[in-house]
């Protein structure tokens, strides 16, 4: 039995932005000595803050579960930076499991990331991926998300309040894509979508009233 869990602070939530994803680079003739012959790419999967913070104040370790064909497919990274570099030839889903620090006494969160090695000319319709093709050989697939600690316990709350963790760069730049600017742009886009849908709703309502009358 562990220590008695500290009291949770009700009706309060703390959000921390995180960035996860992978970068990949085609290997030329220069290959790491231990890499198998068929491996063509070198990739790095990472979890970090929007400004490159290591997030070690909340994250204890990150477990990456790779494809079974890799030796020891479950890789635990228990020190910042929480990233893993490997070589390979194919894309697959990587299971990412983030374990939080002891004081948080929160369950780990788990999600999947599709490892990307190749560029697609047709951008994915979902538009999630922010592609950053600097040079022809580099591929990046990065996602922004927020870890929300709903009703954190008091100890962890102090940790969270110790330093401002929700700091986004104000402007979009080459390096920091996820910024306040991007969020604003996104809201604007969504608002445009809402107004379009509203227009459509009006049209349909008109139709409906005509049809029900007749």
């Amino acid at each position: 039995m562990g220590p008695i869990p500290a009291k949770r602070i009700k009706t309060l939530s703390v959000a921390r932005p995180i960035i996860y994803g992978n970068s990949a680079k085609k290997m030329g003739d220069v290959k790491p000595p231990n890499a198998p012959v068929e491996h063509t790419h070198m990739w790095t999967i990472f979890v970090r803050g929007p400004n490159g913070e290591d997030l070690s104040d909340i994250i204890k370790c990150v477990v990456y579960k790779l494809h079974e064909t890799y030796p020891n497919p479950t890789r635990t990274v228990d020190a910042p930076p929480f990233e893993l570099t490997e070589t390979g030839w194919g894309e697959f889903e990587i299971n990412v499991k983030i374990h939080f620090v002891e004081s948080a006494s929160e369950k780990p969160i788990s999600f999947y990331h599709h490892l990307r090695l190749h560029k697609y000319h047709n951008a994915d319709a979902s538009g999630i991926k922010i592609e950053n093709d600097s040079g022809n050989t580099d591929v990046e697939s990065i996602f922004y998300d927020e870890v929300v600690f709903n009703e954190p316990n008091e100890d962890f709350f102090k940790v969270l309040m110790a330093q401002p963790g929700y700091v986004l760069p104000s402007n979009k730049t080459e390096k920091t894509v996820f910024s306040k600017q991007l969020a604003r742009e996104e809201i604007d886009r969504i608002n445009i979508g809402i107004s379009k849908v509203d227009e459509e709703i009006e049209v349909l309502k008109e139709k409906l009233s005509v049809l029900t009358k007749s």
Partner: protein, 461 residues
């Protein structure tokens, strides 16, 4: 089989008929007159034998009750009257002879003996008021004054009974009934126009021959239908009735559906339903709506004992309330009174709300040292709601829909050029995204409804 046979079988000496000595003479006819009976009844009477009952039970002839009225009969007298000159008739009238003879006798049916006033005119008059018509109308040309005169005479004579008039009308050429009616009304109209043009009734003297002919043709057709045609028509009517019923049913169903969809009105802001309290309210209202709709309510037989107990409990509560009210009025504390009235559930809710309020107050207290800007940079916010505690990724909490709806929503988002998962799922972005999803969902609902209605309309056509 008669009584003697039975006596024979039972070996009983018939003291009268069975004695050998008296076989020579005829049996003495019984004193009671033989009843006129037949069939089965006669057989039964035969079985009776000599043991006839001493008194024949017969229905006594019942006479009519005597008149018991004490009033004197009113006198009626046979009086003479003259319905018209040279005719004398007699009829019974109530009243004594002297009284009746004092009054002049009138025919009670005289008032029904009425005559139509049909205009009379000379040839000159006819020509004068018909001159503007004869020029135009070809039909009226054929009608000579003589014919018209004859027609009017016949009308007068037979009280405009057209079939008789047509029968009695004597001209060389055959005239249809409609022709006759037409000329009659035309002449009448012209006549009265010349005499009293101000009379408002002149306008009603109109006769449309075409319409009359059409009406008759229609009736002809209606009456000359064959049995099969009638049957078919009836079947069609039944079918149409069925269709109407079905249409009415679907429309009523649709109305109720729309009402369900409309509460809350989809065009109203949904902000009030975004809080958990608003949500429960909405849920409850929808739920109660549903129960109202339910046709077959389970009726649990009442337990009279329970009812009694409830009554007792109510009385007790009322007594308590009265007492408490007294106390309260003394203390001038109205707050308690309202709380007493609340049910247990409400109390519970209140407690929860109070607790939550305390929680959020505590949370606020913790954050009181931070400005809004600082709070933002810390990513902390107080939502004041009951949400499952724990850590999660914000993007995983985007609302999902039924599989079919989900794909439709995804398509719509694609059409709008928006991603199904926002690139930056910050709380603000997600809030907007949720709003958008709600709108799209209601739009899809509407679209479905419209499509359905249009399809139905096409079918109706």
């Amino acid at each position: 089989m008669s009584s003697s046979d039975i006596f024979d079988v039972l070996n009983i000496q018939n003291h009268r008929a069975g004695s050998p000595g008296s076989s020579g003479h005829t049996p003495v006819p019984s004193r009671t007159p033989k009843l006129q009976v037949s069939g089965m009844q006669r057989e039964l009477y035969n079985l009776l034998g000599d043991n006839t009952p001493p008194v024949a039970v017969q229905k006594s002839n019942k006479f009519k009750d005597k008149m018991r009225t004490m009033a004197k009969p009113s006198p009626w007298s046979f009086a003479e009257f003259e319905p018209r000159q040279s005719v004398k008739l007699r009829h019974w009238v109530k009243g004594s002879k002297e009284l009746v003879e004092q009054q002049p006798q009138v025919n009670a049916f005289e008032k029904y003996n009425t005559k139509l006033t049909i205009p009379e005119f000379t040839e000159e008059e006819y020509n004068s008021f018909m001159k503007d018509k004869t020029g135009k109308d070809d039909d009226s040309k054929k009608w000579s004054f003589r014919d018209v005169r004859q027609l009017f005479d016949l009308c007068r004579k037979y009280d405009m009974r057209w079939f008789i008039i047509q029968d009695r009308f004597e001209v060389e050429e055959q005239r249809s009934l409609e022709d006759m009616k037409e000329i009659f009304y035309l002449v009448c109209h012209q006549y009265f126009m010349a005499q009293t043009p101000d009379n408002p009734l002149v306008g009603s003297l109109k006769f449309s021959k075409e319409k009359e002919v059409e009406r008759k043709k229609y009736l002809q057709r209606l009456l000359s239908r064959s049995a099969a045609e009638i049957a078919e028509e009836e079947a069609l009517i039944v079918e149409s009735k069925k269709f109407e019923m079905a249409a009415r049913k679907t429309s009523s169903e649709r109305e109720s559906l729309l009402r369900l969809l409309d509460s809350p009105n989809s065009d109203k802001p949904i902000a009030q339903f975004l809080t958990s309290q608003g949500m429960t309210q909405l849920y409850n209202s929808l739920l109660s709506d549903k129960t109202k709709k339910r046709k077959y309510e389970q009726t649990v037989p009442e337990n009279p004992w329970m009812k009694q107990q409830q009554q007792f409990a109510q009385q007790k509560q009322q007594m308590q309330q009265l007492q408490e009210q007294k106390v309260i009025t003394n203390n001038k504390n109205i707050n308690n009174q309202t709380q007493v009235k609340k049910t247990k559930k409400q109390k519970q809710e209140l407690q929860i709300a109070v607790k939550r309020k305390a929680d959020s107050e505590y949370a606020e207290q913790l954050l009181q040292n931070f400005t809004a800007e600082e709070r933002r940079s810390l990513g902390v916010q107080t939502h004041g709601e009951k949400l499952p505690s724990g850590a999660y990724l914000r993007s995983t909490r985007i609302s999902t829909f039924k599989a079919a709806t989900q794909t439709k929503i995804a398509t719509t988002l694609q059409e709008l050029g928006l991603p199904s998962r926002p690139a930056m799922p910050t709380s603000e972005v997600i809030q907007h995204h949720e709003l958008l999803l709600g709108r799209i969902s209601s739009m899809l609902d509407l679209k479905k409804q419209v499509d359905k209605l249009e399809a139905e309309k096409d079918i109706k056509k």
